[in-house]
């Protein structure tokens, strides 16, 4: 018997993939609906390993989907809803064509809405999953919140985005979760840490709406993405507010609710209200504690954990704790030329209070004449009326202070001063094997003490310091040597009990005082001697550690050996480079110093000569 011939592409890669057209046919959907449901459900086209086989021998490049994905879509209840909606669409289309506008309006009013909360749950089974995927969501929602009503974008979408973003910012403010800010030419980068997840998003600079080119972006698709993201952000907000003991939905000014969108409010009013909304503190759930301090990190010592890392983590936690109360109790007054939205958000995130000119914008909480204001944020070269009780700083001071996690000295940021560069806080920490000039290091860390300060007059002291350091180093080395020698002696003494035995034999030769001696010895053995504390020899330990490290190096798998070697070589190289640059710098500094010295001497000599002459 000849078995039935297997059909080509009925298994393997040919069966795994499906073209978009086939998917449409299988799901009985139009392309528009298919696109929508794919975006809502998070089904993406795939790139096959072997395109020819995946396309069942057809040429060209087709959009392919996994058959499994399409089967997964097949079970989605929303599909039924989409098919139902088709009827409505047809009715609307017909009414429009027949110019029965009353009917059309009625259909539009009764157009059913799709509820997709189950998809949010399905795509993000846990809250952390949702938080992890919030980057894109936030960026798009913040972007859409600046949009006016557009063609192909539902009317209420930008309004909803406005509401949700303000709610989210409130949650961040109450959670004090903001960690980093970066002002780029593109917009503001914010990074928050919620439930251990870092979320980064971009907020565009608030100018008026940028007109979009029609053939750049498919608005329909983006709007569908936003549709899902608003749903997701809403539920995330709900959860966040509840964990923070806040009432959800919060009561925000009237312009955020959808019913009021009929009154014409111009863009500026929107923005002003939005910022004013952020300046309010929200109602808490009754009976909830105001301050919820996170407990300190519990230490569970495990063998593989590096104590250094633990220490680092502790330090980081301490820093974050400090950062959370950076502006606590400080009052800020924001001048009207400064972009208020980021300012209010940042200042309130770290416990500050802020206000602005109440004649220009709504929502001001205190007046400019308030004497308790600590800082006034100004972005102009000079001001006519200045109060003595406050500092006039430029907005960059706020951003840099947040990134430095301390209140930076204001002398570089005073009104009219030329600002120091605004550095990115997102620079890789892994890239620490680079040479950092002392100036930059000082900028990054204000506590940084350069090893050789080039301030004149301290030369001699410095030299002596260095000498001392060297001495101490020598001392420590000497100590280590001595300790080693001592240990060696001890070990030798322990290993050779024969000498003592000899002594004993000698003693035994004398028979007369034998008993006495025996008694004496017995006594001796019973006597209590002062114990010697066990001393850890750092040098010895270092050696042991090194040996252990080498042993561990031996255990590196053959597969990774080459990589490991190259890594090590790279490290060495970078170290060398840093060393070289440091040396260069040192030499250069010394040279400069010497020149200065020579000049000073010369001046002194000249002065002396002038005096004597």
């Amino acid at each position: 018997m000849v078995s039935k011939k297997k059909k080509k592409y009925s298994s393997g890669e040919g069966a795994q993939f499906m073209t978009r057209k086939a998917a449409l046919k299988k799901l009985q959907l139009t392309l528009k609906d298919f696109r929508r449901i794919c975006i809502l459900k998070g089904i993406y086209p795939r790139e096959p390993r072997n395109r020819k086989r995946a396309q069942k021998g057809a040429g060209g490049i087709k959009t392919l989907y996994h058959t499994k994905d399409i089967k997964f879509l097949l079970h989605e209840p929303i599909i039924w809803k989409l098919r139902e909606l088709k009827v409505y669409q047809q009715k609307i289309r017909r009414a429009r064509a027949m110019k029965e506008y009353g009917k059309m309006r009625k259909y539009f009013r009764d157009y059913p809405d799709i509820n997709i909360d189950h998809i949010v749950k399905e795509r993000y089974p846990t809250f952390v999953d949702a938080l992890r995927d919030l980057d894109d969501c936030l960026t798009l929602c913040f972007l859409f919140s600046t949009f006016p009503s557009l063609k192909r974008v539902p009317r209420d979408q930008s309004m909803l985005c406005r509401r949700l973003t303000v709610e989210f910012m409130h949650a961040v403010i109450t959670a004090k979760a903001l960690r980093k800010v970066f002002v780029s030419v593109k917009g503001f980068y914010y990074q928050v840490e919620l439930e251990g997840q870092t979320i980064t998003w971009i907020v565009p600079h608030h100018f008026s709406f940028q007109p979009q080119n029609k053939n750049d972006v498919d608005f329909k698709i983006m709007s569908t993405f936003v549709e899902f993201y608003t749903m997701m952000l809403g539920f995330v907000n709900f959860k966040l507010f509840h964990t923070l003991n806040l009432v959800y939905p919060p009561k925000l000014p009237a312009s955020f609710s959808a019913e009021k969108d009929k009154d014409l409010i111009d863009e500026h009013t929107y923005v002003a209200e939005r910022i004013a909304a952020m300046n309010l503190s929200l109602a808490r759930v009754e009976g909830a504690n105001e301050a919820e301090e996170l407990p300190e990190i519990d230490v569970f010592p495990t063998e593989d954990e590096d104590p250094k890392k633990l220490e680092e983590a502790k330090l980081e936690a301490e820093k974050v704790k400090k950062l959370k109360t950076l502006f606590k109790g400080l009052k800020f007054f924001i001048n009207r030329e400064v972009p208020r939205e980021p300012m209010v958000f940042i200042i309130r995130c770290f416990g500050g209070e802020c206000s602005w000119d109440k004649d220009h914008f709504v929502g001001a909480t205190f007046d400019e004449s308030d004497e308790t204001i600590a800082y006034q944020i100004v972005d102009r070269p000079s001001m006519e009326k200045q109060y003595l009780s406050r500092y006039y700083v430029q907005p960059q001071w706020v951003f840099d202070s947040v990134n430095a996690r301390t209140l930076l000295p204001i002398n570089k940021y005073l009104m009219g001063a030329v600002l120091p560069p605004h550095l990115s806080p997102f620079v890789d920490k892994i890239k620490d094997q680079v040479y950092i000039p002392p100036e930059v290091a000082q900028m990054n860390n204000p506590d940084f003490k350069p090893l050789d300060d080039d301030q004149s007059g301290t030369d001699i002291e410095e030299a002596s310091d260095e000498d001392k350091e060297e001495e101490s180093e020598e001392d420590s080395e000497g100590d280590a040597d001595e300790a080693l020698a001592k240990q060696y002696r001890d070990e030798v003494a322990e290993d050779s009990p024969s000498g003592e035995d000899n002594d004993d034999e000698d003693d035994n030769d004398d028979m007369d005082p034998q008993k006495k001696k025996l008694a004496k010895e017995k006594k001796k053995s019973m006597a209590v001697t002062t114990g010697v504390t066990y001393k850890e020899h750092p040098y010895q330990k270092e050696i042991e550690d090194k040996q252990a490290f080498r042993l561990r190096e031996k255990l590196v798998r053959k597969k990774h050996k080459k990589l490991y070697k190259s890594m090590k070589a790279g490290q060495e190289e970078r170290k060398k480079e840093i060393w070289l640059l440091r040396k260069k710098r040192r030499l250069h500094d010394e040279k400069v110093k010497e020149e200065k010295k020579a000049e000073k001497k010369k001046q002194r000599m000249q002065a002396f000569e002038a005096a004597t002459a």
Partner: protein, 463 residues
């Protein structure tokens, strides 16, 4: 051998009994009975129902055929064919004799109905009905509005105890009396929260918001800005190179000619084969006598003689010999060159291997960052955000962002493989030619005329 007919069949089981019993007569009888029930018994029917007395005679045939209009008219009273099936065909009397009779709309109220209506009006039944209707309408509107705001109300702790409501089971079916099995059976996609197949790798691994280059700061350090500038320059160079390549491969491949040349060529081509105007200057026949001369001399089949053949053969043989000698010589020398050859081969192989490794690394790098090919279109390359140093104002008020954030997002989705890159096809607007219908054209003169006329009328009225 003919197959014998079975004499005895088993009728042990019900099935067998049914199979082998002839019940056609019983069925026939029953059928007849049913028919009688439906149509009435044939015997009991009077003759008048069964027969018709022919009174018309043959005269009917001579009647005038109906006109089309008349036929249509006649059909108006008939019950349409499509509704005939709705008419009761059964003769079985209605078991419910007192079926609720509904007076047709527009029938006159009876004395009794007038009385009851009056009574009900006094009782306030109609008033209540109106109020109820109003209330229900309001409720319906509210319900609709609430359903409309589904997208704006978030009142579920989705990641806590609350579960999203089921989407397919209608609210009627959600009552307790329907068993869960029945629900499952009737409404198939009940199992909504199913495991999702894993996402594509690129979607998962690539960051949605990439950490920015420190040089894009609104007030960057010189060094970082220069670094970014280098990136931009590299990117730009790459693009330029590509453009040059495309130019070379497409436009430059073709020879360019001036318009004059083109016309000349065209003229020449078009006039091919046409008799040329007589030009005595380039007439070749003018300088010779009128003798016929072919352009190609005639072919002659001239044979080689023996000597020539031998010479040729010898020449070939000599050449062959020399060649072989040379090869033999080379063979001998190659034996001494063996080691050199070996080293050269190994060298080449080593080099090739290195190159292969390099190529593999390069491919891997490209694959790690390249946008997945999901469509015939390619996702655009990521352009570094760069603002020229002259435009870097360093203050927040005067930042002019060059990048379109929405496009950036869109392309990011494409680069992550969440969207297939596509070219947006704009709908072409139909060009409509506008014209006046011949009779509807209104000229300026006509307007003037109309105005004059109305003014004249006004004047006439006022006078």
């Amino acid at each position: 051998m003919a197959v014998k007919k079975k004499k005895h069949v088993s009728k042990k089981n019900k099935k067998d009994w049914r199979k082998h019993c002839d019940i056609t007569d019983v069925e026939e009888f029953l059928e007849e009975q049913r028919l009688d029930e439906r149509l009435g018994k044939f015997e009991t029917k009077p003759d008048s129902e069964l027969f018709v007395v022919d009174t018309g005679g043959d005269l009917k045939d001579e009647e005038k055929p109906l006109s089309a209009k008349q036929k249509k008219r006649a059909k108006l009273t008939e019950v349409p064919k499509c509704f005939e099936i709705l008419l009761p065909s059964s003769k079985v009397p209605d078991p419910n004799k007192k079926r609720n009779h509904v007076n047709p709309v527009g029938s006159k109220p009876t004395a009794l109905s007038k009385l009851t209506e009056k009574r009900r009006l006094e009782k306030g039944v109609y008033q209540k009905k109106i109020e109820d209707a109003r209330k229900n309408r309001r409720l319906a509107v509210q319900k609709k509005r609430k359903a409309k705001q589904i997208r704006q109300t978030f009142d579920l702790d989705l990641w806590g105890k609350d579960m999203p409501k089921s989407k397919t089971i209608p609210s009627v079916l959600e009552e307790e009396f329907v068993s869960s099995e029945a629900k499952l059976h009737n409404v198939l996609p009940d199992q909504r929260l199913r495991a999702k197949p894993p996402l594509p790798k690129t979607v998962v691994t690539r960051a949605a918001v990439e950490t920015p280059h420190p040089g894009v700061s609104y007030n960057p350090t010189f060094q970082e800005h220069q670094e970014l500038l280098q990136n931009v320059v590299q990117h730009e160079q790459k693009m330029m190179k590509r453009e040059q390549h495309l130019n070379r491969v497409t436009t430059k491949m073709f020879k360019r000619v001036t318009a004059q040349e083109k016309e000349n060529q065209w003229k020449e081509e078009m006039s091919e084969g046409l008799p040329k105007p007589h030009n005595p200057a380039d007439d070749p026949a003018s300088d010779t006598d009128n003798e016929y001369k072919a352009i190609n001399p005639p072919v002659k089949n001239k044979k080689k003689d023996h000597k020539a053949r031998r010479k040729q053969r010898e020449r070939i043989e000599e050449r062959e010999r020399l060649k072989r000698e040379k090869i033999n010589k080379k063979k001998i020398t190659d034996i001494y060159r063996l080691r050199k050859l070996e080293t050269s081969i190994t060298k080449r192989e080593k080099k090739q291997q290195e190159l292969r490794a390099k190529r593999a690394i390069k491919h891997a790098e490209e694959a790690a960052t390249a946008a997945p090919a999901l469509n015939a279109h390619k996702a655009p390359l990521k352009e570094p955000d760069f603002v020229e140093p002259t435009q870097l104002s360093g203050d927040l008020l005067h930042i002019n962002p060059k990048t379109n954030l929405l496009r950036d997002r869109f392309e990011s989705l494409q680069r992550r493989g969440a969207l297939a890159a596509s070219k947006i096809m704009m709908k072409k607007k139909r060009k409509l030619k506008s014209y006046f219908k011949p009779g509807h054209k209104v000229t300026d003169q006509e307007i003037e005329k109309y105005i004059n006329k109305t003014q004249a009328q006004k004047i006439g009225v006022s006078h």
